[in-house]
């Protein structure tokens, strides 16, 4: 049974006993003490009247001497009863109020409400541990797509933020340490509707613990983790964490890609951004000498990808001892002109401000811009609330850690085929990527497209499977608008997976087969329209043949008669 009720009953024992005792003493006294009736004859009050009298007297609802005026002995006893019962009530009410204020009781009530809302969640959901910058971005994007999430965070302020946030679907949140297995279980870890666990706390150790708990308690469940150091990353991978995101490596990798083939970089950027935001402009980072300020985790990742593209990077670091770049770096913070000049900013083509201090990073790029206005400027943004000043600084590229993580996870959760597609897209030429990018922008306009995966199975496309059993259906046929079949839906097929074989950008005359998995990108709403056709046999028939057949028993009968 519920913990709250037990706690309440246990604490109410003493006050209830006091009340029962006070009432029974008062009632018994009233019954035993003799009175007189209207004619002055001796009379004893019955239990019925005594209980009636004590009830209204004790609660101070009213007062009256019934059914006959009291004798002095009765009045004396009434005096005793009044003080006895009023004190008992005050004690009981005081106890109840203290209990309601008690942290342990409040905590129990909150936990119970949380557990109840998880039980009432009848749709698949993800557990998101950590509701900082990254977590809130992710949950917002998920809720916009109608995907349910459950949040656990240790910081009560963040849970308050969650409650104040205007989300499209209800997201239950609990203020607790997510690395404690009991809380993960409470959040629905072992529930059949739980689709995955995302560990995003700012503590690598906690993320590791969450990953290992989830893997032990619910093995097939996908677990996605954020890790910022190499050894934690390896540790997580060792017990089968499904996806580990190191934001620094991801960013360094992307920067290398932009240097190498700007078209592919733009394709990546478009397909992994949060949907319904404006599309980003293509980036053309110059080849030449780069100046890199800060050689921490971020600086190392950027340096690695720059050097693998054959780009020379001069490092500026304030503490070469600790970061391990003694000998080949310029010592200094980079915020002052001398250090930048010593690093050769005058003939450099790009600057990367990668320290863990936002003010320093902005100062570095502003100073560098004065010394060499033509620089390509990259800066690392550490805090979400500095958004506006980073935007005003006119940078070419901002490394925003929480955005990178949120976008990566969103792609993992909403379109499982996307990572595979991106991997294969890398192997293609820049020219191929440029063509695809122009096709995408022709279909979706200037907003980030939605990306979704479609599996041709009983759940996602029952009507289509039914038709496939008798007839061939081509990809181009299901991509038509159900309102007017001559119009194409604003979407583009990116990949077709059939067994182990994959095909990039499948043509419209590809015949579909049961079990195929397709990756699409397109405008908002295209996915819902396509799903309706795949669900509803009548709509699908219209798309395939243009025939609108009447449905329902009466109409079918009428049609047969014609």
């Amino acid at each position: 049974m519920d913990k709250v009720i037990f706690l309440f009953l246990r604490r109410m024992r003493a006050p209830l006993l006091v009340l029962i005792a006070a009432y029974s003493i008062a009632v018994l006294g009233m019954v035993l003490i003799p009175g007189v009736d209207a004619e002055g004859r001796p009379w004893h009050m019955g239990f019925f009247h005594a209980f009636y009298f004590v009830s209204y007297m004790a609660t101070t609802i009213g007062f009256g001497e019934i059914p006959y005026a009291f004798t002095d002995a009765q009045r004396g006893w009434t005096l005793v009863s009044i003080y006895l019962s009023v004190i008992a009530w005050l004690y009981a009410i005081g106890k109840i109020l203290t209990l309601l204020q008690e942290p342990a009781f409040k905590r129990a009530v909150v936990e119970q409400a949380f557990a109840r809302s998880i039980r009432r969640l009848h749709e698949p959901f993800y557990i998101v541990c950590g509701f900082g910058d990254t977590g809130s971005l992710l949950v917002r994007a998920l809720s916009r797509r109608g995907i349910r999430a459950v949040v656990i965070d240790r910081n009560p302020d963040r849970i308050n933020d969650l409650e104040l946030e205007d989300l499209d679907v209800y997201v239950p949140g609990l203020c607790a340490d997510a690395s404690v297995s009991a809380y993960l279980t409470m959040a629905g870890l072992s529930s059949a509707r739980c689709r995955g666990v995302v560990a995003l706390t700012d503590d690598d150790e906690a993320n590791l613990k969450i990953a290992i708990t989830s893997k032990l308690l619910n093995r097939p469940l996908p677990v996605i983790c954020r890790a910022e150091t190499r050894d934690v990353q390896d540790n997580m991978a060792s017990f089968g964490t499904d996806h580990i995101i190191n934001p620094f490596d991801t960013f360094g990798d992307r920067l290398g890609l932009a240097l190498h083939s700007p078209g592919t970089h733009l394709l990546f950027q478009w397909l992994t951004s949060v949907p319904h935001t404006p599309l980003s402009e293509p980036l053309y980072p110059p080849h030449g000498k780069w100046v890199l300020c800060g050689y921490g985790r971020f600086g190392k990742a950027v340096q690695k990808s720059l050097s693998s593209e054959g780009v020379e990077a001069v490092i500026i670091e304030a503490d070469p001892q600790r970061t391990g770049c003694v000998g080949y770096c310029v010592v200094g913070r980079g915020t002052e002109a001398e250090t930048l000049l010593a690093a050769g900013i005058a003939d450099a083509v790009g600057i990367v401000a990668g320290t863990d201090n936002d003010a320093n990073n902005l100062s570095i790029v502003m100073t560098a811009k004065e010394l060499n206005p033509g620089l390509f400027m990259v800066a690392r943004q550490n805090r979400h609330d500095n958004d506006s000043i980073f935007r005003a600084a006119g940078l070419n590229l901002v490394m925003h850690r929480s955005e990178i993580i949120a976008e990566d996870i969103l792609a993992q959760l909403t379109a499982p085929l996307l990572p595979m597609f991106l991997q294969q897209a890398r192997a293609q030429s820049n020219q191929w990527a440029n063509e695809l990018v122009s096709r995408i922008s022709a279909v979706t306009g200037d907003m980030v497209p939605e990306v979704w995966t479609l599996t041709l199975n009983e759940y996602e496309a029952p009507a289509l499977l039914h038709t496939l059993a008798e007839d061939d259906v081509y990809l181009g046929q299901v991509m038509r608008d159900l309102r007017e079949r001559d119009h194409l839906l604003p979407c583009l097929p990116l990949m077709l997976q059939r067994g182990n074989e994959t095909r990039l950008i499948p043509a419209e005359d590809v015949a579909l087969r049961s079990g195929d998995r397709l990756l699409f990108c397109g405008k908002a709403g295209a996915m819902q329209r396509m799903q309706r056709a795949l669900y509803n046999g009548n709509v699908l028939r219209y798309l395939l043949t243009g025939e609108e057949r009447p449905d329902g028993w009466v109409w079918r009968a009428l049609k047969a008669r014609q």
């Binding site: 049974m1 037990f6 109410m12 029962i20 029974s24 239990f47």
Partner: protein
């Protein structure tokens, strides 16, 4: 010896003995059934119920259930008594007394179960 256990056992057994005392006598004869005894049974039963609150064990749940049954039966008996005396005005005839005593008899069964459970629990403690 545990004082809490003594108080607990005292009230549960007192509830049964008082209940028995009220129940015994000629079945429908109002002279054999004292109203003060019924009052005492009700008070002691209520106290026994409250004492069982908040025990999370299986045995605790069962003990609480039997007590609640006894309370219900006794309160209905008291209501019947008050009704015939003050509201319907038919007085304590043999029919009214019969139903009051049979209700108290039902409560006594529940109290017997309570005591048996208490004995079983105590017997299981090998100390």
């Amino acid at each position: 010896m545990n004082l809490e256990k003594v108080v607990f056992g005292f009230f549960i057994i007192l509830a049964l003995t008082l209940n028995f005392g009220f129940f015994i006598g000629e079945f429908d004869n109002p002279e054999h059934h004292n109203v003060y005894e019924l009052f005492a049974v009700i008070v002691v039963n209520l106290i026994a119920t409250v004492l069982k609150f908040g025990d999370r064990t299986q045995m605790g749940a069962l003990l609480l259930a039997t007590s609640l049954v006894a309370d219900l039966q006794l309160l209905v008996a008291a209501v019947v008594w008050g009704y015939v005396l003050h509201i319907s005005g038919t007085g304590l005839d043999s029919m009214a007394m019969g139903s009051i005593v049979s209700l108290a008899g039902g409560a006594m069964l529940a109290n017997i179960v309570s005591v048996v459970l208490l004995i079983i629990e105590t017997a299981n403690l090998r100390r």
